[in-house]
């Protein structure tokens, strides 16, 4: 952790214009070189020079991004190590692609505050700031930790646990063959290792496919669309997403579950949650939906409250406005094409003028104004950007790909009849890489597995 090469996005994700990815460490120049095509070789570049070129995928030689790369050689950099800064187009997709490729090299995602930490440890930052550096590490780590935990809860972590279990059983088998050569356990064949690594690689492929379809990647600013039944929440979501994912009907209570949709508005990634209409209900199925939507509201970074302009303000809606007071929220006065019944004065007690957006989803009016309002909230810094969540996704994908590569190495080695103790190096690496995703890297569990799986003794 002291001298490896690290990378992080050093501008907020989604901000317009240019994004900068910073890479620092002894191998930074050589590792970036592996995925950078240009007239000049980075490894031969002078310090403090800027190079135009393309990030390429070394597997397919495909050009991924047009970039500017700045080389700063040690010790004349922020961290006093060799530093490479890659400037890409600002969109989420651009940054993600470059980050993905970087993390598949011998580069890992920087820990929170790690650039600053290195700068300090290398004497670049004044002594008086030590405490600030510590605070930074602590607070960012805690937040990153909670985000990371939130990320891997549920299905993903369960799937990874299952894959790791296959690997640890395989490893225990290999280890018993090595450490108890005279023991009467069946000896381990190359076929067995190939079979098991294939099984896990298939599992990883499935997870990666899911990620590519966007289920893992659909993160960003969690945005809840709330309101009473039938005020047009699903229609709004559809208008924003330009798809027909949510069921749109005129019957109150049709949206019975939280529906997620991922959209990018002016380069800002939003995860839209359409919730069941907030309303006391006796319908059991709908009640579950309502509970979930209340939960969605508490989790959201941004709340879009949809009202029906053609009806007077309902008691439920007042209650809701009380509940979300102080949160980042925009109110949408929908159905403005119908005769208005809503008293706007009440709204003004809760919302600033520029956060009240008149709209007709049906007539496709007011959408631009809403997008502008969201952009403004985002760029003024009011919404805490979801970049931590986003980045930990990139990290997961990189680790999944690295684990896959390790297993492929193990498979190839088994094919060539390389001794099992060497194949084990790659199997173990894959196991550790998967473990990093769910924060479990304790190696004691291997010994536990050996002794519970096999009867050993003298």
């Amino acid at each position: 952790m002291l001298s490896d090469t690290i990378a992080a996005i050093s501008t907020a994700v989604g901000e317009a214009g240019i994004a900068v990815i910073r890479v620092s460490g002894p191998e930074s120049i050589a590792e970036v070189e592996k995925i950078f095509h240009s007239k000049t070789k980075l490894t031969e570049a002078a310090t403090h020079t800027v190079h135009y070129g393309h990030i390429i995928d070394p597997d397919g030689e495909e050009r991924v991004e047009e970039v500017l790369v700045t080389v700063m050689r040690a010790p004349r950099s922020f961290t006093t190590e060799d530093v490479v800064e890659i400037s890409t187009h600002g969109g989420v997709i651009s940054v993600k692609r470059v980050m993905d490729l970087l993390l598949q090299q011998d580069i890992r995602l920087a820990e929170p505050g790690e650039f600053t930490k290195r700068a300090f440890l290398n004497g670049r930052i004044d002594l008086s700031q030590a405490e600030a550096v510590i605070d930074l590490i602590r607070s960012k780590s805690d937040r990153a930790f909670s985000v990371a935990l939130k990320q891997v809860e549920g299905a993903l972590s369960e799937q990874i646990r299952q894959l790791r279990h296959i690997l640890v059983e395989t490893m225990a088998h290999i280890e018993v063959n090595i450490d108890y050569p005279e023991h009467d356990v069946e000896s381990l064949t190359a076929e067995f290792i190939k079979e098991k690594s294939t099984e896990v690689m298939q599992g990883i492929a499935k997870l990666l496919k899911t990620a590519e379809q966007g289920k893992i990647l659909r993160e960003g600013i969690t945005t809840a669309i709330v309101g009473r039944p039938n005020v047009g929440k699903s229609s709004l979501l559809n208008a924003l997403a330009h798809t027909n994912r949510a069921i749109v009907t005129d019957i109150p209570g049709t949206t019975r579950d939280v529906i997620e949709e991922f959209v990018t508005i002016n380069n800002i990634p939003l995860k839209l949650l359409d919730t069941a209409g907030i309303r006391e209900t006796m319908d059991v199925v709908e009640k579950i939906g309502v509970e979930r939507s209340k939960h969605a509201v508490t989790e959201a970074d941004l709340i879009l409250l949809v009202l029906n302009t053609s009806e007077p303000l309902h008691e439920d809606e007042l209650e809701l406005m009380e509940q979300i007071r102080g949160r980042q929220s925009i109110v949408i006065m929908n159905k403005m094409d119908l005769p208005p019944q809503l008293d706007k004065d009440i709204l003004s007690r809760y919302y600033a003028e520029d956060l009240i957006v008149p709209m007709s989803v049906k007539a496709q009016e007011g959408i631009d104004a809403l997008e502008a309002a969201i952009s403004q909230l985002f760029f003024s810094g009011s919404i805490e950007s979801g970049d931590l969540t986003y980045v930990s996704n990139v990290r997961h994908i990189a680790l999944l790909k690295k684990a896959n590569k390790s297993l492929q190495d193990a498979y190839d080695a088994a094919e060539q009849f390389i001794p099992i103790d060497m194949i084990q190096i790659d199997v173990r690496l894959a196991w550790e890489q998967l473990g990093e995703i769910i924060g479990d890297t304790a190696s004691d569990s291997l010994l536990d597995q050996i002794f519970s799986q096999f009867c050993l003794g003298k």
């Binding site: 952790m1 002291l2 001298s3 490896d4 820990e111 929170p112 505050g113 790690e114 930490k117 300090f120 440890l121 002594l127 030590a130 405490e131 550096v133 510590i134 605070d135 590490i137 602590r138 780590s141 280890e175 063959n177 090595i178 450490d179 108890y180 050569p181 005279e182 023991h183 009467d184 060539q416 009849f417 390389i418 001794p419 099992i420 103790d421 060497m422 190096i425 304790a442 190696s443 291997l446 010994l447 050996i450 002794f451 009867c455 050993l456 003794g457 003298k458």
Partner: protein
């Protein structure tokens, strides 16, 4: 009143495998050394299996030898069987295992020690440590003799408050009915040490003439034996076979019918036993679906009829033991000569030690071997040699020698003990080493002999020989790298070996990398001018063939070394560091790691805690430097 027994540089208490190595290392490094043991007939005694080596353990013996210790030489002189295990696997896990003539092993070790000029051997029971101003300066024996020393090494094995358990009976005893050490255990507790209760056990011994070997499978030694010591050039010891049989359904029925009499299950045993070395009753309960278990019959020496029944470790009552034995094919009429038993003993919680094996609480006091919670002769001897070295270094006022995890299994063992502690008797396994490929049987000398020479345990003559070997290996690798070859040179050979022919020019190093090609094959087309021994050829092959994997591990080692280089001052107060999580703070305060590397291996200390610690240390160092 105590009687003055004289002053020494180093006192070693105990003469087991740890004690012998500690005493010899200290004496050979120039310290006047006294070894005190309860019974001088028990020097280097093997209370359990008459064998040395195997995976990880055999590696440790090689390391002891590479450092200048005795175990390797001693077993090479006294083996009755030698086998290289794991030959079908990679070179890193090839492991030598010997059956010892346990009596000859003891006598030979005792003779070596008696001849050592700086070493005094004395029979006696140490009951108390002399501690002055918090520093250990000597010991007092049961007879009232006080010996003084600058360093004291405790290697008490299973003697501390030893208690033998068999069936319904228990009695205070060391191994093999030796006197236990009761007062010393009390003294350690009074001095403030945290002790734990561990348990181990041994199987019965039976008479050779009552075994029907025709019902067992023969397990012979290797025809061309290899040796543990780099100094052993050849030996023609006659080899004796071991014999393999299995437990029967009847054995399992006997055990199941008598489980209520087993101390393991009746609650008579309070100590924690090792998972990797369970008793037969434990195996049958935990793995009830396994129809039979292996039993190896191992001779205990040339001039004895006693056979060790490996696989049948037990603390069942004597009558059950006999019935169990006679239910095993080949042992139907067997005579039991000694019964198996379990033994409980006190061990020091090893996180109370520095990585030098000196106790944190009492400077000058070192502990090594089973007292530190390990199990096994080799683990004990490995610690013994390090404790002996560091006890002598303390006398010389020099920095302790600490092996890191990439230098040897001894480093792995000690680092695990002092950093993580252990909740069962600790046994080395190759899987405990993260750099297994670097810690090979073949390269122990490359890893440790320069260090052995530097500290004075390896003679100039042996070191010169080592350097010559190393140089020849390097020269040969360079030669193969430089030797350009074309299809006409090598394709005939490659085709003969079933290996794909080459199309363009290549070099011999690349050709040797192929699994089918050995160094001998290369020499057929291009003989080496360096007159290489078999050992050197093996080294060349391994370094070339597995270079890719070796490289992978070396990258990680570089990182480990950087972390280990960041030292943490002893005076650091973790309560002063804001931002470290509570659990990490408690662990760090209790373990007091000597480096960031060690700190990062403590369970419960997160990367964020390490980052904060690094920042604090930098701050601390700059402030200290500014104060001058």
């Amino acid at each position: 009143m105590s009687f003055d027994g004289g002053s020494y540089d180093v006192i070693v208490i105990g003469a087991g495998h740890a004690g012998c190595e500690a005493a010899l290392a200290a004496a050979r490094m120039g310290s006047s050394t006294l070894m005190i043991t309860i019974n001088l007939d028990m020097v280097a005694f093997m209370p359990c299996n008459p064998s040395i080596g195997g995976p990880a353990k055999g590696h440790v013996v090689r390391e002891i030898d590479a450092l200048g210790g005795e175990m390797g030489r001693n077993i090479d002189k006294t083996y009755i069987q030698m086998r290289m295990l794991n030959t079908g696997k990679g070179p890193a896990v090839h492991a030598l295992r010997a059956q010892a003539d346990k009596f000859l092993y003891q006598h030979t070790m005792k003779e070596t020690m008696e001849k050592e000029p700086n070493l005094t051997m004395r029979q006696g029971m140490v009951e108390e440590l002399i501690v002055e101003d918090g520093v250990c300066v000597g010991v007092i024996t049961k007879t009232g003799t006080a010996y003084r020393a600058k360093s004291v090494v405790l290697t008490t094995g299973t003697y501390l408050r030893g208690k033998v358990i068999m069936g319904e009976m228990t009695y205070e005893s060391g191994p093999n009915n030796q006197q236990p050490s009761i007062k010393l255990a009390e003294n350690l507790r009074e001095l403030g040490f945290d002790l734990v209760r561990f348990k181990t056990g041994t199987p019965p011994r039976v008479h050779k003439s009552t075994i029907d070997f025709s019902k067992t499978e023969i397990q012979p030694g290797d025809e061309k034996p290899k040796f543990f010591s780099y100094e052993t050039e050849g030996s023609d010891n006659e080899q004796l076979p071991c014999w393999l049989t299995y437990t029967s359904l009847e054995t399992h029925q006997i055990i199941n019918a008598n489980l209520h009499r087993a101390p393991m299950f009746s609650g008579m045993i309070e100590g924690t036993g090792p998972r990797y070395c369970p008793s037969i009753e434990d195996k049958i309960v935990r793995f009830s679906d396994k129809p039979k278990h292996q039993i190896f019959l191992e001779p205990e020496g040339k001039n004895t009829s006693e056979y060790y029944v490996q696989g049948l470790s037990t603390s069942m009552p004597e009558d059950v033991q006999l019935a169990m034995l006679r239910s095993i094919p080949g042992l139907e009429k067997v005579e039991m000569m000694r019964n198996g038993y379990a033994i409980e003993y006190d061990a020091v919680v090893p996180t109370q030690l520095w990585p030098s094996l000196e106790t944190k609480m009492i400077p000058g006091l070192f502990t090594a071997g089973q007292i530190n919670g390990t199990s096994g002769y080799e683990e004990a001897a490995g610690q013994g040699v390090m404790a002996g070295i560091n006890a002598a270094r303390r006398v010389q006022d020099k920095e302790p020698v600490i092996l890191d995890r990439s230098q040897g299994y001894i480093g792995v063992l000690i680092d695990d003990l002092v950093t993580k502690g252990t909740n069962e008797p600790y046994r080395l396994l190759t899987s405990r080493a993260e750099y297994r490929l670097l810690l090979r049987h073949d390269n122990a000398d490359l890893r440790l002999t320069p260090l052995g020479h530097e500290i004075g345990l390896i003679s100039d003559e042996r070191f010169a020989k080592f350097l010559a070997k190393k140089e020849k290996v390097e020269q040969e690798i360079e030669r193969l790298q430089a030797a350009k070859v074309g299809p006409s040179h090598v394709n005939e050979m490659l085709e003969r070996l079933g290996s794909a022919p080459i199309q363009d020019g290549s070099n011999l190093l690349t050709i040797l990398r192929r699994p089918e090609v050995s160094h001998d094959h290369i020499e057929e087309i291009s003989p080496s001018p360096f007159n290489l021994t078999e050992e050197m050829k093996e080294q060349v092959e391994i370094q070339i063939k597995y270079a890719g994997y070796i490289e992978k591990q070396l990258i990680h080692v570089e990182r480990l070394k950087k972390m280990n280089k960041k030292k943490i001052p002893e005076t650091i107060d973790y309560n002063e560091i804001e931002g470290i999580a509570i659990e990490a703070r408690q662990k760090l305060s209790s373990i007091r790691p000597i480096s960031i590397g060690q700190a990062s291996r403590i369970s419960g200390v997160t990367p964020a805690d390490i980052s904060i610690l690094l920042v604090y240390l930098e701050h601390y160092n700059r402030v200290t430097a500014a104060r001058g």
